[in-house]
């Protein structure tokens, strides 16, 4: 199976032996061995998933690397974080997924399933209303502006996050978009802070120390 290791904070190495790995298009910076690259819009999700994707319009721009060798990935100096899944599902904010392989099944989830909150959430994060999911047991890599911060959520300890800083989450979590009356008092300054994502349940939330769409 593919071996993932971090060369440094911002560079990922994946060794493959006659295997295939999917990564964000444009993130390959070097490779050794015999590896062929091809664009892939579907990842490892099969026909049904592909159909779902074309209907929903959520298109991951992926590049598949197949063969034997080592591939190095990096993306605009963003920090890379490795995540191991053991039969769980990871929800990735579009743009935060860097690499994964066929051990994980990818899919799309309609945020509307989570009620109105999900819909507005898509609007608030500016990422659309569909989120990419990865399910199964294996490794994946995400990118974030600054180190990704993992925050634990338990049934008695929910967490509130800025939608723009949200990178992804795993586990059995429910996300709701909440508006605090206090926060509303400074709507109109377009700070984008009038919405907060509230995560309840059991799982882990990943955030970055930068607001997407910020001035950088």
């Amino acid at each position: 199976m593919p071996e993932y290791s971090l060369i440094n904070d911002k560079m990922l190495s994946v060794r493959i032996r006659n295997e295939e790995v999917f990564a964000r298009r444009g993130s390959m910076i070097a490779y050794t061995g015999h590896v062929e690259f091809a664009p892939s819009s579907s990842g490892s999700e099969g026909m049904q998933g592909t159909a779902m994707r074309s209907v929903t319009g959520e298109r991951m721009t992926l590049m598949s690397a197949r063969g034997t060798g080592e591939v190095l990935y990096a993306f605009y100096g963003m920090h890379v974080t490795m995540i191991s899944l053991r039969g769980e599902t990871f929800f990735a904010e579009s743009g935060s997924l860097l690499a994964y392989d066929g051990r994980l099944r990818s899919g799309t989830v309609f945020l509307g399933n989570q009620g109105m909150g999900g819909l507005i959430r898509g609007a608030a994060t500016g990422s659309g209303m569909f989120t990419t999911t990865l399910e199964g047991s294996g490794e994946l890599a995400i990118v974030s502006d600054g180190d990704a911060i993992a925050l634990d959520v338990t049934s008695d300890r929910p967490i509130f996050a800025d939608p723009q800083a949200y990178v992804g989450h795993r586990g059995n979590l429910r996300s709701d978009l909440v508006t605090d009356v206090g926060w509303k008092t400074f709507v109109g300054q377009s700070s984008g802070e009038s919405y907060q994502l509230k995560f309840t349940g059991q799982g882990t939330v990943y955030i970055q120390a930068a607001e997407r769409g910020g001035n950088r």
Binding site: G146, A150, I159, F160, D162, T185, F186, Q189, A209, E211
Partner: protein, 243 residues
């Protein structure tokens, strides 16, 4: 490493780009810099008037009142600023002046006032405050001249003055008393610091994008007379034509 509300640092950096405040009571934070929190916290605009006594005691800046909120309650609050480095500073009966866009938060035991240098806030007293910077901060002892874009702030000393490159000044003498058409590459004008204290410099000439400079200019127009406004208008028009 997965953090929870217990394992998150209390009033310390989570990493170079994120800081966790242990809020017990009240804290001032810059609007828009909260990235996540645990616990029961509320956020009220400084200008909303809900914390009148607190604002009266520690927040003395009408110009920046809309840029700050009061966080109240108990909880762990994580702040981030566009992926910029964040550091905390402890003041002990001291004073530190920082570019206003970089002031991320401060304890109410400090008093926040507008510096006479536009775009800067001065924090006085004893307590902790947070500032962001583009790259790590470097401390320099005066006498020193600093590029305005790289300047983060200064501590325990009088306000700086401008120092112009002599060649640039000669060029200006030749012009018909106009500050209007002066073209600058940014290297011919520095801020000059003298006296005892420390100057804080960030590791990049790229200033943070803050609204403060423009805000400052706009706020000052309210004190101008009609003919002065016309003068300003013609200056702006000339500027735009010269671009």
């Amino acid at each position: 490493m997965i953090f929870n509300s217990q394992t998150l640092p209390a009033n310390d950096n989570v990493n170079s780009y994120a800081f966790c405040m242990d809020v017990r009571g009240e804290a001032f934070i810059q609007k828009g810099k909260m990235i996540a929190y645990y616990g029961a916290l509320r956020f009220e605009s400084v200008s909303a008037g809900a914390y009148d006594a607190l604002v009266r005691q520690s927040f003395n800046s009408p110009l920046y009142a809309n840029d700050f909120v009061v966080a109240t309650g108990q909880g762990k609050l994580i702040l981030g600023d566009r992926g910029n480095n964040i550091d905390s500073y402890d003041l002990e009966d001291g004073n530190l002046t920082v570019r206003s866009a970089n002031v991320l938060g401060f304890e109410p035991s400090l008093v926040c006032q507008e510096s006479t240098v536009p775009g800067y806030l001065t924090l006085l007293g004893t307590g902790k405050f947070l500032a962001s910077s583009n790259g790590p901060v470097h401390f320099i002892e005066p006498p020193v001249r600093v590029d305005e874009d790289a300047l983060l702030g200064w501590a325990d000393m009088p306000s700086p003055s401008y120092r112009y490159d002599y060649g640039y000044m000669r060029g200006m003498f030749g012009m018909a008393r106009s500050f209007v058409g002066g073209r600058s590459s940014g290297e011919e004008k520095q801020l000059d610091f003298t006296g005892q204290g420390a100057v804080l410099v960030q590791s990049s000439e790229m200033g943070l994008v803050g609204r403060s400079n423009l805000d400052d200019v706009i706020a000052r127009t309210s004190s101008l007379q009609q003919n002065e406004l016309h003068q300003l208008l013609s200056v702006i028009q000339q500027r735009l034509q010269n671009r």
